[in-house]
Amino acid sequence: MASTIPERDGQRADSRVSMNDLVVSREVVVGMPQGLHARPADLLTREARKWQSRIELLKNVQRVDGKSILEVLTLAAEAGTRLVVEATGPDAREALEAIGGLFDRNFNEQEN
């Protein structure tokens, strides 16, 4: 279930984000036995780039740009890893739903 936190003036010290932008986030679990390897990372960043919102992935204290495959691969997220996907921008809700869906479907990976 996505939580929606409307941005308010002064709530967040981030110049890239307009105060009218939505910030939504949800937890996802890496369900693929091979982890978040190159192919799902490619699918993830392709989906993320379709949206205007900034997409970030958080693993503990690590925060990476969800639109950059190089950054996503630095998560080295193995099977079972819990990540938070955060979307910030005018289409944040839709973006989060699309990206969360990829994790929910295990990126359509076949067991191999």
Binding site: G35, H37, A38, I69, L73, L75, A76
Partner: protein
């Protein structure tokens, strides 16, 4: 994981001759055979498996870098090598740019974590554009080896 944990030093190539995706992959796999990291009898099967993986989506991840890889039962530990093409090769990369820098990985089927940590190391180091540029400009395998060693000593071991 560091480069030294998986890069076969003797298989590093600073000038690949091939101008096609399969040609580069074959040349790199052959260099792993010559370095004694994979058996000559497994060469064809490994090249085929890497090409099959490429069919699922190019491992050309942008910035002129590709990470062709496969799992293969013939290896008991992750082995890899690095190669540079000065002309660049069309790898059907995600950003459409030709690839000059290649990291080829062959990993045991039961060790997905090692593969992920090698990808993590490669992608983390390649975020440094200077490192990327220096690798592409390397004139000999020893230059590449030194750049990897330097990156290993600066990077955070994980």
């Amino acid at each position: 994981m560091k480069f030294s944990d998986f890069v076969a030093t003797n298989a590093i190539r600073s000038h690949v001759d091939a101008h096609t995706k399969e040609g580069v992959i074959r040349e790199m796999a052959q260099s792993l055979v010559e370095a004694g990291n994979i058996a000559a009898s497994d060469l064809e099967s490994i090249v085929k498996a890497i090409m099959k993986r490429e069919d699922l989506g190019s491992t050309g991840i942008g910035r002129g870098v590709a990470v062709p890889h496969t799992k293969h039962p013939s290896v008991s530990r992750l082995v890899g090598t690095v190669a540079v093409s000065h002309d660049g090769v069309d790898f059907e990369s995600l950003d459409g740019e030709p690839v000059q820098l290649f990291f080829l990985l062959v990993s045991p089927p039961d060790r997905p974590g090692d593969h992920l940590r090698a990808l993590e190391n490669i992608s983390r180091q390649l975020r440094d554009e200077t490192f990327c540029r220096q690798l592409k400009a390397a004139r000999g395998p020893v230059d590449i080896q030194h750049l990897l060693e330097e990156a290993d000593s600066h990077g955070v071991a994980s």
